[in-house]
């Protein structure tokens, strides 16, 4: 059986979240993301770092060795910091490392199948399973998922037609028009891919709507980060002094601008060392950059670029960023090729421009609450895979034979079927019959 994973604590509530994995592969997968894997021992709490791509989080790991666990299989639990975003990132990382998202009630089902739950509760479990399928049916009537369902079904229908077209040329060679069929398929798959991409784009929008845009303010010490934050928030929150390194803690404050929530994170100057990299707290800054949706890089317009500034410009060059030249109330000596906003935090000059710029960065037609928005990890996973298959089909359409193209189309169809819950191949056979005139 596959190794399954799920978030076991309610999402978005509480200071810690528990992400739990069960299955033969649990230990192996944990090894890929946990820093102190050599310390893992059954029934011991181990402190380490969850490290995967951009995630770098301290967390606790507990290992329950089969059969002495709830499910009777190897179980690994990660206890990490709470909060929806991080929890989902951890979940996503484990899925990318080979676990599959658990069905509702699947841990309990496995526990039962492995004889870990008493016979008395058998009926209860059956009820749970049935209740879940009922809930899924009900979810179909939910406006949002109903819309998604219809959208994905319409994509499946396009694919069904193409499979039927190709399979017709395969099963009825006398009605042959293969070249034309494959050309048509290519055009249709381009369309399908566009639609899938549109849906996937809404996934980030979905997140933004739920949790807001994370905007991290960075800059060398004493460049006026906290002043800018205060100006943005419209109230005095952080202590502002002329002494570099006053702000010690990361400050997060949120505003709502044109119905979009923006969370500002002030990364405080940390200068404990003479080393340039250390001076700007490179590790912390890096992490802050990674976890944010957009970076506000503050430079001092009254001085030339320093080594520290250059370093920060380099660090953020592939990230969504807004460059802010602060202190225009002083003399303006800095000239910069990159697009930037001139502000004076002191005089509250052009501060609204920053908000508007952030808003615009996320306004590329993606925030449209009336449309479809993806929020379900399972859906996003399926659509991402479907998108890859589309690419594969388009790359290979010209060089492959029809039997292979048909094979890939079926794969694509099945991937989308994970969202619509349809798996019937009979629909393709029916489509062949209903659309074409055949005979012997």
């Amino acid at each position: 059986m596959k190794t399954i994973v799920a978030v076991s604590t309610p999402i978005g509530v509480g200071a810690i979240s528990i992400v739990r994995m069960s299955g033969d592969d649990s230990l192996n997968i944990a090894g890929k993301v946990f820093s102190c894997k050599e310390n893992i021992e059954p029934r011991k709490v181990i402190l380490g770092t969850f490290h995967y791509k951009e995630i770098n989080e301290k967390c606790l790991l507990v290992y329950f060795k089969a059969p002495h666990s709830y499910t009777g299989e190897d179980i690994i639990e990660f206890q990490c910091h709470g909060g929806e975003f991080l929890t989902k990132e951890v979940l996503k990382a484990l899925i990318e490392c080979g676990a599959v998202l658990a069905e509702n009630g699947e841990f309990t089902k496995r526990a039962f199948l492995n004889g870990k739950v008493s016979l008395d509760s058998a009926e209860g479990i059956i009820d749970v399973i049935n209740a879940n399928s009922e809930a899924e049916i009900k979810a179909g009537f939910n406006l949002m998922s109903g819309k998604l369902l219809n959208k994905v079904k319409s994509l499946q229908n396009i694919i069904t037609d193409e499979i039927a077209n190709i399979d017709m040329t395969l099963d009825y060679p006398e009605h042959d028009d293969e070249a034309e069929t494959l050309n048509h398929t290519e055009k249709q798959i381009i369309k399908v891919k566009e639609e899938i991409e549109k849906l996937l784009n809404t996934a980030s929008t979905g997140k933004l709507i739920k949790t807001g845009i994370n905007a991290t303010i960075i800059g060398k010490p004493n460049v006026g980060k906290s002043s800018i934050l205060n100006a943005l928030l419209g109230e005095d929150r952080a202590i502002v002094t002329d002494i570099a390194g006053t702000t010690r803690d990361i400050i997060t404050e949120s505003i709502v601008y044109k119905n979009v929530k923006i969370n500002f994170i002030d990364t405080a100057g940390i200068r404990d060392s003479d080393n340039v990299v250390e001076k700007i707290g490179i590790d912390r800054t890096k992490r802050a950059i990674q976890s944010s949706d957009i970076v506000l890089l503050v430079l001092d317009s009254s001085n030339d670029l320093t080594e520290e500034d250059e370093e920060l410009l380099k660090l953020t060059k592939d990230k969504k960023r807004i460059i802010i030249l602060n202190k225009i109330d002083k003399k303006n000596v800095l000239s910069l090729k990159d697009r930037h906003i001139l502000v004076s935090a002191k005089n509250n000059e052009n501060i609204e421009d920053i908000k508007e710029a952030i808003y615009q960065e996320f306004q590329t037609g993606t925030i449209d609450t009336s449309g479809l928005i993806l929020t379900n990890v399972r859906h996003i996973e399926a659509l991402s895979k479907a998108n890859e298959i589309c690419k594969n089909i388009l790359d290979n359409c010209k060089n492959s034979t029809a039997d292979i193209v048909s094979f890939m189309l079926k794969e694509l169809w099945a991937e989308l079927g994970k969202i619509t819950g349809e798996t019937e191949t009979e629909s393709i056979v029916d489509a062949i019959f209903s659309k074409f005139c055949l005979g012997k």
């Binding site: 060679p173 293969e178 029809a402 009979e426 393709i428 055949l438 005979g439």
Partner: protein, 623 residues
Amino acid sequence: MKKVYYDSIVVGAGHAGCESALALSRLGNKTLLLTLNLDAIAFLACNPSIGGTAKGHLVCEIDALGGEMGKNTDETLIQKRMLNRGKGPAVYSLRAQADKQKYHSRMKRVLEEQENLTLKQSEVTKILCRKGKVIGVKTAMGETFIAKSVVISTGVYLKSKIIIGEYTKNSGPNGFAPANQLTKSLIDLGLEVRRFKTGTPARINGKTIDFSELEVQYGEDDIQNFSFLTTKKTKNQSVCYLTYTNSKTHEVILNNLSRAPLYSGIIKGTGPRYCPSIEDKIVRFKDKERHQIFLEPEGLDTNEFYIQGVSTSLPYDVQEEMYHTIKGLEHSSIMRNAYAIEYDCINPLELYPTLESKKIKGLFFAGQVNGTSGYEEAGAQGIIAGINANAYNHNKEMLILKRNQAYIGVLIDDLVTKGTNEPYRMMTSRAEYRLYLRQDNADIRLTEIGRKIGLVDDERYKIYKSKMLKLNKAKEKLKIKIKLDNKLKNFLKNNNENIPSQSLTVYDLIKRNNIDAFKINDEFGIFKSFNNDIINSINIEVKYEGYLKQQEDDIKKLEKEESLVISEDIDFFSIKGLRLEARQKLDKIKPKTISQASRISGVSPADISVLIIYLKLRQNGKN
């Protein structure tokens, strides 16, 4: 009354019955094959051809298991082609024009010569049973034959009725007598009987056809045979022709629709969607300006031509008017009129995947009586019914081919799991493991199975073993490195391929899009000691490696589910948590594995979870 004893009885000597009877007798069972008419043995009642898409696959599989259809076709064919070239090796499909008379007479001879087999003309009217087990059959003349197992392969002969316009007659195909009494016996045994319909076009005298303006379709030389045993090259001895219907043809049909039995209500049986009559095609596909027609010779000793694509049940006078509108057929004369035929068949949901009846032990069904269409589909079921009747006789494990092993597996699984509401035709699109289930590897997939059963004789097994040996040797050649000299550079350039920085292995070369194993052999002689079949197999395996691997993973997943067996004594109605519809469906179909259960329409994934839990519970309870 005198009773005669056999091990097994096969009722009907069509394509299913012949394979059943041969399998049984070859496995050492004293077998009686009864037929209404010895002249109708292995009769090609519709088109004079064997194979085609998915059907060619079935023939190769029957052959790999030790059946007769492939050999019989190779011996009697007069033209052969490989369909779907250029669409990928998975769907390459052999199709042959067979000489109708020779096909019949050779098969009849094979049956006559077969040890342990008694061939007799007699009409079976009753199936004899005792305590839920079959014990024999009774004939119209009053004979009683006793046997441990009986295979019913009556084709379209049960209460068959032919229809030509207003004219109807109780008759089997081609004027052969129908079997009017056996249906009642099936109903009395509690089996669900249904009425299906199919049809056939007219046969026209070739002397009256003007071929001069028609497109000719030639056969292909040098292509594989149906049988892995056939070593000689079969010869193309005739050609087919291509013509089309036109607006005049359609006008004639539309003007006479009121006289078409399909629309006037005379025809009650359900016909196949994939093989509609010409009137059905014209009504359903109004926009299509013309329909393709193939003129196929019925044999070398006759002028009769089969008019593929215009089967109809219109009255004889409309038929004549209609055929005369077609280019080439303007002055043609009809020798046998087109007709529709209705017949009784059983609901295949009555059967286990072994083709044994769920209600009567030892009673097997195969062929069109199960609601299928086509000679090849019939033959495929025939050999399985024969193999399993033998297993029944000797209390051995029965053979169920899986969907990932053979088209035969797909065919039977579809029939007994999903059922069918129209005559079922095999299509490659029904096979989810199409890339793996190919003609060229039918022997690799099935010969060991046939050997274990005992149907694969030493000769066939030796051929198979030697092929496997050669394949392995050929695979070794893939590792050969070809130096990056001017010869290789030119070869790559001529095939529009990039030139790499270092030497390439044969394997790397085959992977290239514009190059294949044959081209490499022509240029570098790598595979010169191997025949085309071997080179072809190597080529496919390398080119399709990634996709095959992906399918293999799917197959492994399926196998896990297949291993969860549902025992026959489970009472689905007593399982709490199953929805009512699922209980009913499961009770009716009685799936043998969780995998089969999951393919039943109306059984949801939640039902399957409940079922798995129930099975586990039972297991735990027993332990």
